[in-house]
Point group: C2
Chain length 432, copies 2
């Protein structure tokens, strides 16, 4: 089938999803969880096929590990679905309510976005997580996973589709794309698809962002900073800098650049330098840094680089303004932390650093949907509109305005005998 036909099916399904009751959705999630358990053997067989092909084609060991979808992984995604069932329904919430006039009541009510296209990495767990998030939020979804996981994704999508449709969801709400070419075609379908969520390498996300008119939710780079202020507690600063860089280097919320106030550099840098040495982190420093500790020279390019590796660029700055300026110039709007005992400095940093996540006296590694307690995570966004930072279910909904009257016309509110709007906030959920 053509991708445009799949998208049209998804669009048609999405128009029915919007009215699903909470218990129908939760029941469908229960059906999906049961079907996954029931089909464990077939899922593992399909995954073995993918694993064999991947091994034969020489896929690297860490990627093979991500690709593997065994009984433990199935149990984990089923537990995820059980938590999702317990989360409050994000759709149908009254966000504001206002009386415009007697018996003319305006309600702002949350509703699904419509059709979401999600492109994700090789972990098959992602397919289950994303599709069930979309189910819970009444969105239709077009999914494209890593091609290494083709067989696993296919059986998972079939199981989820069949189980949910048998529980009352409209046919076609979940669609699986097969090839890179499919993704390219999907990006042109801005008449059917309302939001694209790309997950994966920065080159890939950047390609998506530059090649579609559909709004994109995601992040390309994660160039995160730790700024150690003049008034920092040095031991705390060492701990936070080391954790931000070393706790897991290959992730988007790991620090790539350390900024140090010149007043504290002489005391702080030797201490943190020793820790980085023990953690085998390569330091690339500015001239001032290199006058205090051993480091390779940093180039302009280093400030713009997301290493995702045991490399850290270090710069000594004149003051907090220079630190903020550096972050707003070279950062990616993801996560940046200040270490200081000075509340005024912290407030300034948190207000003026233009990033999704701004932290005071803690590691950049906390910016994550699970750690934030959002439940499941759709992704991390560095957008400036709609949703920013770790995005939970709320990122998959928007609102509509429901106005309930009893025959009012605009003419009633104009001319010499015009009625006046009362515009009183009311404390009431939308009754229909």
């Amino acid at each position: 089938m053509e991708i445009s036909d799949l998208a049209k099916q998804a669009k048609a399904a999405s128009l029915h999803l919007a009215a699903l009751k909470t218990d129908v959705k939760n029941n469908a999630l229960i059906f999906v969880a049961k079907a996954l358990i029931k089909n464990t053997r077939d899922i593992i067989a399909a995954n073995k096929k993918d694993l064999t092909e991947a091994e034969n084609s020489g896929l690297a060991a860490p990627l093979l590990k991500r690709l593997k979808f065994d009984e433990g992984k199935i149990k984990a995604v089923v537990e995820g679905i059980e938590s999702l069932i317990k989360l409050e329904d994000p759709v149908g919430k009254t966000l504001s309510a206002r009386e415009l006039d007697k018996d003319l009541h305006l309600y702002q009510v949350s509703c699904p976005i419509g059709v979401v296209g999600v492109i994700f990495e090789s972990r098959p767990d992602a397919l289950v997580q994303i599709s069930t998030l979309c189910l819970k939020s009444d969105n239709a979804v077009l999914l494209k996973g890593g091609s290494e996981a083709e067989n696993t994704n296919k059986i998972l999508a079939e199981i989820i589709s069949q189980a949910s449709v048998s529980a009352g969801l409209p046919t076609g709400w979940i669609q699986l794309l097969q090839t890179r070419q499919d993704v390219k075609e999907m990006l042109a379908l801005d008449d059917c698809i309302d939001l694209v969520v790309p997950r994966g390498s920065n080159e890939f996300v950047r390609y998506i962002m530059n090649n579609t008119n559909i709004p994109v939710l995601g992040h390309a780079d994660g160039i995160c900073h730790v700024y150690v202020d003049a008034d920092a507690d040095i031991d705390m600063a060492v701990r936070i800098a080391v954790d931000s860089k070393c706790q897991y280097v290959a992730v988007c919320n790991a620090a790539e650049t350390l900024l140090v106030h010149e007043k504290i550099a002489q005391d702080f840098l030797p201490k943190v330098g020793k820790e980085f040495e023990q953690n085998e982190v390569e330091i690339r420093g500015c001239d001032k840094t290199r006058s205090i500790i051993d480091a390779k020279p940093a180039s302009e390019e280093d400030w713009r680089t997301e290493y995702l590796d045991t490399i850290l660029s270090v710069k000594v700055v004149e003051d907090i303004d220079a630190a903020i300026d550096h972050i707003n110039t070279y950062g990616s709007g993801h996560t940046d932390a200040i270490v200081t005992q000075n509340e005024t400095a912290a407030a300034k940093f948190l207000d003026l650093v233009d990033s999704a996540d701004v932290f005071w006296n803690c590691s950049t590694r906390f910016s994550d949907g699970f750690r934030y307690g959002l439940g499941a995570e759709v992704g991390i966004s560095t957008n400036k509109i709609h949703a920013r930072g770790p995005v939970g279910l709320e990122g998959l909904v928007i609102y509509k305005w429901k106005l309930l009257g009893n025959g009012q016309t605009a003419a009633d509110f104009s001319g010499p005998n015009a009625r006046k709007f009362t515009h009183k906030d009311i404390d009431k959920d939308c009754p229909i």
Copy 2:
């Protein structure tokens, strides 16, 4: 100066705007209001120049009226600024607060979007309204008004810039673009500009939407529907249909298509037809409509047309599902109303019609920021993300996540002695 330089200035200013205190902003708005009054004579002189040029070039009378900016208009925009001062500061509001662990508190806090580009029609009042909305929400703004209003816009932008900067706003936060070519260049500056708000004709808005990577907030078409259900009160339906079509035909929330349930068509259409005849509305109907009342035949194209004129397309439908399907196929996601005494039908319509504004038993003409009581209006959005329907100050803000700790690291929460996240909602505003 190059447009990219103006945009960079605005971007630099925006990074300072984010920390302005509420009283600084309100004081700046007072300064702006006073400066407008003080410079009334010069503003009117500049406007006279525009009016003379426009008359000489043969601008139509209604457009000349919109272009005119006299003492009354100045008074009106000053009153608008006074209301804006009274509105709550949209920035710095704590939207959610959660304890992740003891002394590790996460706050979701509203903040400005950054730099907004606004392109608006010939009314110079729009320049004052939009720039003061941006000021109140801490956004820098690039403005481009109608070329007929060039002199008026120039003096207004100068007055607003000088008055606000003298009250403490950063230089360069407000920038005026001069030509269509400037707009074209602006649309390419997605590294500096975070949101574009185009107001004007649908061709123009569509051009903007198709020619930029910057997110766009707005609407191209306003193809609004009134659906008269089988269970409608016929007198009410006549009143609502006539008001939705006739109260002001040239606006985006006027109805363009009337859908009528076949069970009520025989009773309703002759009554409403008489009213439309008196209002000199041309009816273009489907075959069933034409078998009941006098009407020209409607073509497929009519269902997709925003007349903005005294023309109405009318279709008789089999049931509510056909009405919803018609609206979701041909509508523009703007405003659609159902007239019915049946609450179940109303609920279905409001849930399944995929439009920003869905109304029960009232005129489509109510979808408007002033009527909704939003205070000033940025525009009306048919987007599916960020903001939908009439957009007030809230559409100009987003949020950031502020995490306040006392030295916590991700390592504390992993491994055999891992601390557990508490994830408790807390009822507290962000302290910094």
